[in-house]
């Protein structure tokens, strides 16, 4: 049975990862960091790190898909990631059914 990733959980994960990356790359670590609210709040390095982190967590290939991503919010990014997770899980299920 499919265990599609929960979107709210995905959005939370994206925010946590984004905040963590910003903490590690802050030029003034002691300053209070604003919480990132969308893709526009992230610089190039942070975007790449965020995508690589999500790839590791959800075991899906995302970096190559980013040029077709037109959204700006973390919710839209979560939708994209969820789509790839769902497709991967479906492919795994189909493979398992073919084996039985």
């Amino acid at each position: 049975m499919a265990s599609y990733v929960d979107k709210d959980e995905l959005v939370t994960q994206i925010k946590v990862q984004a905040m963590t990356i910003m903490m590690f790359t802050a030029s003034e670590p002691e300053a209070e960091l604003p919480e990132p609210t969308g893709m526009r709040d992230l610089d190039s390095f942070s975007v790449v790190q965020l995508i690589l982190s999500l790839e590791e967590i959800y075991d899906v290939q995302l970096l190559e898909e980013m040029p077709s991503f037109t959204g700006e919010t973390f919710e839209e990014l979560a939708d994209m990631v969820a789509g790839f997770v769902r497709a991967k899980e479906n492919a795994g299920e189909n493979l398992a059914q073919a084996d039985t």
Partner: protein
């Protein structure tokens, strides 16, 4: 500055591609006029990026050690130019990168920079690589171990229309952190 033998193994390589970006060395190298023409084709409106790219290169074309075109692997289109050049210090090399920003979304500029830095360390026995960028682009280089320099590069003798920021990264932190990032940019999650 002569290139050294290519370093292979698990740290530095001279492979010029990642999952999204490919660098192709231009041989023979473009002369100054041809390079200016290529920049004009890439960014017809000019702007600060083009001014810093051209304005911080060595004035003599012979001091440019290698030139590259930057391509997107997915569409096969050229999106930029890059140069590695002598910067007047025996233990350093300068990296210049110019991209058409509209064609390089979501960190592709950073990815091209990482490839260029790796190639510089792999091909020349330098202690550090420095790279000038317009100050407005500075926030895109918040990588750990990248240092913001106070001293402008020796080639910074032409008047620039914008504020300049010069970053550098040393070999040791590159080998420790930069190569790890590059490995992830080259291998997908299923290849890790």
């Amino acid at each position: 500055m002569p290139r050294r033998e290519q370093v292979t193994g698990n740290m530095l390589t001279a492979r010029l591609s990642s999952r999204r970006i490919e660098l192709a060395e231009v041989r023979p190298r473009l002369d100054t006029a041809a390079l200016h023409a290529a920049v004009a084709r890439l960014v017809p409106d000019g702007g600060d990026d083009a001014a810093v790219f051209l304005g911080t290169l060595p004035e003599h074309a012979d001091a440019v050690s290698a030139q590259f075109t930057v391509r997107r692997a997915d569409v096969g289109a050229g999106i930029g130019l890059a140069c590695l050049s002598d910067c007047g210090a025996a233990d350093a090399i300068q990296a210049n990168l110019l991209l058409n920003p509209a064609s390089a979304p979501y960190g592709m500029g950073l990815e091209a920079t990482v490839l260029l830095l790796d190639h510089a360390f792999a091909s020349w026995p330098v202690r550090l690589v420095r790279f000038p960028v317009p100050a407005v682009r500075a926030k895109n280089f918040s990588l750990p171990a990248i240092i913001s320099e106070n001293t402008p590069p020796p080639h910074d003798r032409r008047e620039l229309p914008c504020e300049l920021k010069v970053f550098s990264i040393h070999r040791a932190p590159w080998e420790k952190f930069g190569t790890q990032l590059l490995t992830r940019l080259r291998r997908g999650p299923s290849d890790q």
